[in-house]
């Protein structure tokens, strides 16, 4: 919102604002406005000082014109500048006839754009200055020709004297959606005046003397139109506006069009009230009906597009067809044109939600809809805006007002708001004196009844639809008293506070992240949404994907999996350098559950409508252009991460293979037998889909954070007093039989052999040492079976490998003899091989 200082000044007694502002602060206009308005919540985003260069421009009179001897398009002008005649060469085609007046920049002038005017020669003809266009003077947008001034202006007069306020300071305000009143100069002036103690004195307006003619306006949808003022003007003529009007509009970023349109825009910017002018000769029966549109009723708006309306759209119709989309845009048929001499001027209040819905439905965002959907004044301000427009139209376009009416629909009730002054301190921790409160509320035109010194009853003005409750008034008091006066004071001293707690899943994710960092991985943050094509490899079916209706970057699906984001990052890296890429991310994946999942707690009714969000830690390792990463680094990283939360994880055969991982290079991650994640080589099809070089090996692991069991406090085990004895075993097994299963079979066999020995010992009574020697356990209480080597060289049959294992044997009370260890080892190996052969018949010790 652009606000002109000159315009604001007109809302007060002459010279009052300038003086009050200077008295309030000596820091200069720009800085003073910035501090004052920003302190009131009207943030000043920029300040521009404009028109300084216009000071040296004078009115010039054309005394002679002759063609340039060497250039067709140039004219040599004899120009009277009030003191003498100078010769100026001009390239414009719209030079007025002799006696006409133009804007003249004499030698020595510096134009607003910075151009310094000097004596020049244009193709051999001397030129003493320049005749300017409004664009060159930065007082308008027209650069097609020079600015032609009214003939009755006197040559030599300064433009700044002829157009008061042409030198100006323009503020760009960021106006929050709760302040529709600040979308016009009066509203901003009201805040400024209240802060500076200046009474508001907006320009004088008069009611027309014509008769109230109720037949002009019919409100058929009173729930959508609260009030409609209509004024009929006859005998006016559509022309360009005078320069002061055009400059004013230009200052606030609007383009001058014609006097009628300019007046409605002027009032829009002055009062914040959108107005509309119809060519009354083109309204059937010369009257308007404010009604809902028919279903699919057609209408052509003044931008030339045809719309099919709905019954939720409010229109201003004549006796037959819609002539305007109420509060949003006028219609083409009855728009004001050069030959219009009979007007119906509209000033109305429309219900904000309806305007917003209509504007959205038809893809409009106009200055008008912007204000109506925030709520304009439906009280005195509305009539004031209409009368201001009427006065300006009569002044600029001539004619007279012959009829008017004020039709009523359902206007919002102004709430009666109790205000308890002590509540200010209770809420803000600072008191606002009653005198200040009285002055602020008075300045804002809030009606106050002081029932008691502490309890007041207030009614907010119609231009402040945001003032509904006590807190709203408290905010107003604080805005003007100064939010900077709020002290810093704790309600409860720090030592009296309850202890804070963390969130368990966040906590777990953070610790896993630290584990992955310690494994040498860098944390990545990827977008939570992906393109559908990137998750087609994964197992979540299309109907369970969570879709964004209005995606950006063509990423329309919430990620069902972490891998695509990490692969995107990998692709980015590979395209830029040849180094290894080790990344991880801790985040969420999203999917609709397979069936409705009942929820409980106070938010259950909402929660059942939401998708499942799963917290996941995911890791990716790529060895760089030279290769060098091993698949076991990814299991290592995952196991390390879980160790960070005190858990001992091990890779095991996956219960079901993951489709996005290489079928022969993957494992599940298990903690105490429960699967908490997966690890493996990324499926070669995905490597291809991401356009990574053929044969690139990428390793991936993920941990389902919510499946990770809670940390268990470790219980110390006593240390073995006697050394254990080891026996090595080389086992020939098929490639597809996992080491985890071999170890599990050996452990199970050891248990079985041990039980059998005890039972045998009990039968041969007295043999108390039976079962004394057994498979040793490690420091974590787990069977001491080590996997030393995975051999795939010569001497092993095709499709097989040799696993070198080491088993440790111990007894609690003594050392183990070689014979005992060997006997037990043989029995365990035999039993394990037998059980493994059930599914892999070719297993044999080497």
């Amino acid at each position: 919102m652009k606000i002109s200082h000159q315009w604001l000044s007109e809302m007060f007694a002459e010279g009052a604002l300038e003086a009050a502002l200077a008295a309030w602060s000596a820091e200069g206009k720009a800085a003073a406005y910035t501090r004052l308005l920003t302190g009131l919540g009207l943030e000043v985003e920029a300040v521009h000082t404009v028109g300084e260069g216009v000071r040296s421009i004078v009115v010039g009179e054309i005394r002679g014109k002759s063609p340039h001897p060497k250039a067709d398009k140039l004219t040599v002008v004899e120009l009277f500048d009030g003191t003498g005649v100078v010769q100026v060469v001009c390239g414009a085609s719209n030079l007025p006839p002799l006696g006409g007046k133009v804007a003249f920049a004499p030698v020595g002038a510096v134009l607003p754009g910075g151009l310094a005017i000097g004596a020049r020669e244009l193709r051999g003809v001397p030129s003493q200055g320049m005749i300017c266009s409004e664009a060159e003077l930065e007082i308008g947008a027209d650069d097609s020709g020079i600015l032609v001034l009214p003939e009755d202006w006197r040559a030599g007069d300064r433009l700044v004297d002829r157009v008061p306020g042409i030198v100006d300071t323009v503020l760009e305000l960021g106006v929050t959606p709760n302040r529709p009143d600040a979308l016009g100069h009066i509203g901003v002036a009201r805040d400024v005046g209240t802060k500076l103690g200046l009474p508001l004195r907006p320009p004088h307006v008069d009611r027309p003397e014509a008769a109230n003619t109720p037949g002009l306006v019919t409100i058929a949808a009173p729930e959508l139109c609260g009030r409609y003022l209509g004024y009929v003007l006859e005998g006016m003529s559509v022309q360009p506006s005078p320069l002061w009007m055009r400059v004013r509009l230009h200052r606030v970023g609007l383009r001058a069009i014609s006097n009628v349109v300019d007046v409605t825009n002027f009032v829009l910017m002055e009062c914040g009230q959108p107005l509309h002018a119809f060519d009354r000769d083109r309204l059937a029966e010369g009257r308007v009906v404010v009604r809902r549109a028919e279903r699919e009723e057609p209408m052509t708006t003044l931008d030339g597009t045809q719309k099919l309306l709905t019954t939720d759209d409010l229109v201003i119709a004549d006796a037959g067809a819609p002539q305007a989309l109420a509060g949003v845009m006028g219609g083409a048929q009855s728009m004001v044109h050069a030959g219009t001499h009979h007007l119906l001027l509209e000033a109305a209040w429309f219900a904000p939600p309806g305007i917003r819905a209509t504007a959205r439905r038809h893809g409009y965002a106009t200055d008008s809809s912007y204000r109506f959907e925030r709520g304009v004044d439906h009280g005195v301000g509305l009539e004031r805006a209409a009368l201001r427009a009427l006065g300006l139209l009569l002044e600029l376009a001539g004619g007279r007002c012959t009829a008017w009416t004020d039709a009523a629909g359902e206007r919002p009730q102004q709430p009666t708001i109790p205000l308890r002054l002590p509540r200010v301190a209770a809420l803000l921790g600072v008191e606002v004196p009653a005198d200040t409160a009285r002055a602020v509320l008075g300045g804002l035109e809030v009606q106050v009844r002081e029932d008691s010194p502490e309890a007041w009853t207030c009614v907010a003005p119609t231009h402040r639809p945001d003032l509904r409750r006590e807190v709203d008034l408290i905010e107003e008091l604080m805005r003007f008293h100064g939010l900077d006066k709020v002290p810093a004071r704790l309600t409860v001293p720090a030592e009296a506070r309850a202890a804070a707690h963390s969130d368990p899943i966040t906590e777990l994710g953070d610790r896993l992240a630290e584990g992955l960092r310690d494994a040498g991985l860098h944390e990545h943050v990827a977008m939570a949404f992906v393109a559908e094509s990137k998750i087609e490899f994964f197992t979540v079916p299309p109907e369970r994907r969570v879709r964004v209706e209005n995606p950006m970057r063509a990423a329309g699906v919430m990620r069902t999996h972490m891998l695509p984001g990490l692969l995107d990052a990998l692709t980015h890296n590979v395209a830029r350098h040849t180094r290894p890429v080790r990344l991880f991310e801790v985040g969420r994946t999203y999917a609709w559950p397979e069936r409705p999942v009942p929820k409980d707690g106070p938010t259950a009714a909402i929660d059942v409508l939401l998708p499942r969000e799963r917290a996941v830690a995911a890791a990716l390792i790529y060895g760089g252009a030279k290769g060098g990463a091993s698949a076991r680094e990814i299991t290592g990283a995952a196991v390390q991460a879980l160790a960070r939360v005190g858990l001992r994880a091990r890779p095991v055969d996956p219960p079901a293979p993951a489709a996005h991982l290489h079928p022969g290079v993957q494992a599940a991650l298990a903690v105490d037998g429960a699967v908490v994640g997966e690890a493996g080589e990324v499926h070669p099809d995905l490597v291809r889909a991401w356009d990574l070089p053929e044969g690139t090996r990428v390793y991936y692991a993920e941990i389902d954070i919510e499946a990770v069991p809670p940390r268990v406090t470790a219980t110390a085990r006593d240390l073995p007093r006697f050394p254990s004895t080891a026996r090595d075993l080389s086992l020939e097994i098929p490639l597809t039989l996992s080491a985890a299963r071999v170890v599990a079979a050996l452990t199970a066999a050891a248990g079985q052999v041990h039980r059998t020995a005890i039972e045998a010992g009990q039968r041969a009574s007295g043999k108390t040492t039976a079962g004394e020697v057994r498979l040793a356990t490690d420091s974590f209480g787990e069977p001491a079976v080590e996997v030393l080597e995975d051999y795939r060289g010569a001497g092993v049959p095709v499709g097989h490998r040799a696993l070198l294992l080491r088993l440790h044997y111990a007894a609690e009370q003594r050392s183990v003899t070689d014979d005992e260890a060997q006997a037990l080892h043989n029995a365990i190996v035999a039993a394990a091989c037998e059980s493994l052969r059930a599914s892999a018949p070719t297993v044999r010790p080497r």
């Binding site: 959606p177 804070a500 944390e523 969000e613």
Partner: protein, 359 residues
């Protein structure tokens, strides 16, 4: 001295000169003085001597043994010295690149989030979380942002297509899902729905901080469609805006290591009233003015205010009994200014050359 003793002593001395290790020295000792040593053997022969010679031989033998032992000891000391000198002459250059496991890093956003979270936990704020896909009731309605209100334009919203479980037509939850209209499910545009969820779930006093991912359809050099926010909420009897100011100042002391000024500017957020933007004294220059604060001595942080009574009412908390404040700010911009990150895109590309800069 008896000739045999003299011969042994001479032989020993000759052998000793060639000994250059502790092990060889020990062997030599055993060879002469061990149980079966040659000098030990001579002592055994003493009994065969006539009594008058015995005493003299014994004394000579003791002298030879002492001499050998002393020589052995001297040689041993010499060898130890020698070894120590050699050991000390070793040179290894420890300014060569250190050997260490590959260094990983936490994302700068993560680091800021953790520091913020720890800071606020120290100030007594518990961590609260909520879903990213949220219902507009919690993201907007209950936060005093009614449907068809321009305040919804303050955040460009991503809408999520509601889901109906096929084959569960008679399920009541499914009915509710069917009644969902387009536009009711959203990606949360701020962390504020966590406020609503917390106030629905627990009674005051409430002192929480919510930190997390948020989404808006904005995508340019300074806006990412996904970003991160932190939000604090304190509700109890007698909570004032003065408490908010003091708490934010305490936060600056904890987070930046020194207590910085906090400045409120009136502003509008539908879920607070009065609403304000808050600035803090520039942590880079301490308020004296520098390039990072554009010479103002302050940096803009975020929004705050007193919880709107309409929000309390939506959450079943009596605004006449309880008051509260809330604040929120973006984590991404704070992180970027902290680390002088030149481009927003670096934050989400995953280039390891960027990520490894934040140990």
């Amino acid at each position: 001295m008896p000739a045999r003793l003299a011969t042994q002593l001479a032989a020993f001395q000759e052998a000793l000169a060639g000994v250059d290790s502790e092990a060889a020295l020990y062997e030599l000792q055993v060879a002469y003085l061990g149980k079966k040593g040659t000098v030990t053997a001579l002592r055994g022969e003493m009994g065969k001597l006539p009594p008058e010679e015995r005493k003299g031989f014994g004394a000579e033998w003791n002298r030879v043994r002492d001499a050998i032992e002393a020589a052995l000891e001297e040689r041993r000391t010499y060898l130890k010295d020698q070894a120590r000198r050699l050991d000390l002459a070793r040179v290894e250059d420890l300014t060569l690149p250190p050997l260490r496991p590959p260094a990983g890093t936490l994302h700068p956003l993560s680091q800021t989030r953790r520091r913020l979270s720890e800071s606020f936990q120290r100030l007594g704020f518990s961590l609260a979380v909520g879903p990213h896909v949220e219902h507009s009731k919690y993201n907007f309605d209950d936060l005093n942002v009614p449907k068809d209100h321009p305040a919804r334009d303050m955040a460009d919203t991503f809408f999520v297509r509601p889901h109906r479980h096929p084959g569960f037509d008679d399920h009541s939850d499914n009915d509710a899902a069917m009644r969902l209209r387009a536009g009711e499910l959203v990606l949360r545009t701020h962390t504020s729905p966590v406020q609503v969820r917390t106030m629905l779930a627990q009674k005051p006093p409430i002192r929480i901080v919510a930190l997390g991912t948020t989404f808006r359809c904005d995508d340019d050099a300074t806006h990412s469609p996904m970003f991160h926010q932190i939000e604090g909420l304190y509700v109890d009897r007698g909570v004032t805006m003065a408490d908010l100011k003091a708490t934010l100042m305490d936060f600056t002391r904890d987070f930046y290591g020194r207590r910085l000024d906090v400045r409120f500017r009136p502003s509008f957020f539908p879920f607070v009233e009065p609403g304000a933007e808050f600035d803090i004294g520039c942590p880079f220059c301490g308020g004296e003015g520098c390039n990072l604060c554009k010479r103002t001595g302050y940096i803009e942080i975020g929004g705050c205010g007193m919880v709107h009574p309409a929000v309390f009412e939506a959450c079943g908390i009596d605004p006449e009994v309880y008051t509260g404040w809330a604040f929120g700010f973006g984590v991404d911009r704070m992180t970027m200014s902290q680390h002088a990150v030149p481009h927003l895109r670096h934050m989400f590309e995953g280039d390891v050359r960027f990520l490894e800069q934040f140990p």
